[in-house]
């Protein structure tokens, strides 16, 4: 077969697919990957979750420990951002008071889509030890914003938080990201 049949002079010559396969197969670890754009995007998104630097109470300390030396969330692509406009995930770490709830809601609204919420610890999940005889703590952050992953514990260990983030990555990879309007999976605002 000839390479130059469809290549007029002066144009970039496009190698046929079987030629490309030959080249890639020669490379160590080379090969062709066929995927959908969506899966590729999801893979990229799941490996770069940028949460908001946002701590409410005790769980924020364990969150800091998870960011720090021993556990190092950076290695799974989690880099804290100081402003909601750059963040795509909010880690609600700790108990949320009724006074604080509108602010959490506003922070969530300020984040660009697609956005995710991890509820860290019992207090953010359901009120935790502040459930009974209490007048000031919100009984679960999911009464204010939609939550994707709940991490149990009081406070959860950094390992538990990492597990929660891995679960969120799993969820992102399965998401019909480009088709979400078609399948009616649109979230929130």
């Amino acid at each position: 077969m000839s390479d130059s049949i469809h290549a007029p002079a002066g144009h970039i010559r496009v190698a046929p697919v079987d030629r490309a396969v030959e080249i890639l197969d020669a490379l160590p670890g080379g090969g062709i990957v066929l995927t959908t754009v969506e899966a590729l995007l999801n893979w990229a998104r799941s490996a770069s979750i940028w949460p908001l630097t946002f701590g409410l109470a005790c769980c924020a300390i364990e969150m800091m420990q998870a960011y720090a030396t021993r556990f190092d969330l950076d290695r799974i692509g989690v880099i804290p951002r100081a402003t909601p406009r750059q963040a795509d995930c909010i880690l609600v770490a700790g108990r949320c008071t009724i006074k604080m709830a509108p602010i959490v809601r506003r922070l969530w609204e300020q984040m660009p889509e697609p956005k995710y919420v991890i509820s860290m610890g019992s207090c953010a999940t359901c009120g935790g030890p502040f459930y009974y005889d209490n007048y000031s703590i919100l009984k679960g952050i999911d009464t204010v914003i939609p939550v994707d992953v709940y991490v149990p514990g009081c406070p959860p260990r950094p390992e538990a938080l990492i597990e929660g983030i891995l679960k969120l990555q799993e969820k992102i990879r399965k998401e019909p990201f480009l088709r979400r309007n078609m399948v009616g999976a649109s979230r929130g605002t």
Binding site: A57, A68, M100, Y132, N134, S136
Partner: protein, 367 residues
């Protein structure tokens, strides 16, 4: 010809990377200078004082961990338990008192380490955070081995502690002490002599002695302003009267002095831990206390030196198995109001340095 200027009101928080929790500061600015700071608190009010009225004395321990200053869970347990023990007149075994003291001092180290790390971040020294967290993880391991928890321990019990120390734990603590004393000079190299750090902290946010006393500032904030008051010396509890340690006092009252006080306190904590381990007696770890404890009618005020300052509890018993009223005197609350005095007249860029140096925990402020 004068420029027309007007006051600017700047809102900081409650979500701000450097407010150490959910504190809102309403800063009134004249150009770049701060004319007034108004803290708005209550974003983490957990109503723990009211909740304690609905818990039995033993149940309350778990709540003090979480509802009060979450960085110093054991110090909260300690003050609560001291109050109950004094109300009920319970004698605590010697060994338990030593174990408590060791853990309290470890807690002080871990709390100051976290402060040092976040203070470093506030001033742009990110390395300090990573180094401090590395050391803190080792303290967490020690806590975990004894109490089973990293942050919230629920280890102290009325009349003693929950369980005896695991085998070989004291050796691990001594090993940590050696390791930690070797690490501390590294912080000196990183921060104490650092010109940028010094320029941002030396002479910044000065709190004069009289103001510190008037505002009720205690702990490292007070001691940096020349108030030589430490509850561990002034009103000893547990075994602090049997160990030798110094209280670092500086008279400058600036952010740098507060930093130096905390660094020195960590060294003194190591000293206390070593002496306690050397003196650690054998024996029982828990006095016999009835399950449904009903202290006699009465009231008590107990204060201790938490890593943030003078932490007190006022407890009233009406003879039932639940306290009638609990009032917590939180050190961060008083220190927060000293903050308004410290910040007046400084530039807006110094807000973070001053706020960081005070080391407030909003859970302690709001309760």
């Amino acid at each position: 010809m004068g420029l027309r200027t007007e006051e600017l009101i700047l809102n900081m928080g409650p979500q701000h990377p450097s407010t150490h929790g959910v504190l809102r500061l309403i800063v009134t600015l004249d150009g770049e200078n701060i004319t007034e700071v108004q803290p708005d608190i209550g974003y983490l009010h957990s109503s723990v004082e009211k909740m304690l009225e609905y818990r039995t004395f033993a149940q309350g321990i778990a709540l003090t961990d979480r509802g009060m200053d979450y960085l110093t869970a054991l110090a909260n347990e300690e003050v609560y338990i001291l109050a109950v023990e004094r109300l009920a007149g319970i004698e605590v075994p010697e060994r338990a008192r030593y174990i408590r003291t060791i853990l309290l001092e470890l807690q002080r180290i871990s709390s100051h380490l976290l402060w040092l790390g976040t203070f470093g971040i506030d001033l742009g020294a990110f390395t300090a955070f990573l180094w401090c967290m590395r050391e803190r993880e080792r303290v967490m391991d020690l806590f975990e081995a004894v109490t089973g928890g990293r942050l919230h321990h629920v280890y102290f019990r009325i009349g003693g502690v929950y369980e005896d120390l695991p085998e070989g734990w004291t050796d691990r603590v001594l090993e940590f002490c050696d390791y930690f004393l070797k690490r501390l000079p590294e912080y000196d190299e990183l921060l104490t002599g650092n010109p940028i750090f010094k320029v941002r902290t030396q002479g910044v946010g000065v709190l004069p002695r009289e103001v510190a006393v008037a505002m009720g500032a205690s702990g490292p904030v007070g001691r940096a302003s020349g108030v030589a008051y430490d509850v561990r010396k002034a009103d000893p509890y547990e075994v602090y009267d049997r160990v030798e340690f110094d209280i670092p006092v500086y008279t400058e009252g600036d952010c740098y002095a507060r930093y130096l006080v905390r660094l020195e306190e960590m060294r003194q904590s190591v000293r206390i831990i070593r002496q306690c381990i050397a003196q650690l007696p054998e024996g029982s770890i828990r006095a016999r206390v009835p399950l449904s404890l009903r202290p006699p009618k009465g009231e008590v005020y107990v204060h201790t030196e938490s890593p943030r300052g003078d932490l007190g509890i006022y407890m009233v018993s009406d003879g039932t198995e639940r306290p009638y009223r609990v009032k917590i005197r939180a050190p961060s609350f008083s220190n927060l109001y000293a903050l308004t005095e410290m910040m007046r007249g400084w530039k807006v860029a110094d807000v973070i340095a001053i706020l960081g140096s005070v080391d407030i925990v909003l859970s302690d402020v709001d309760r």
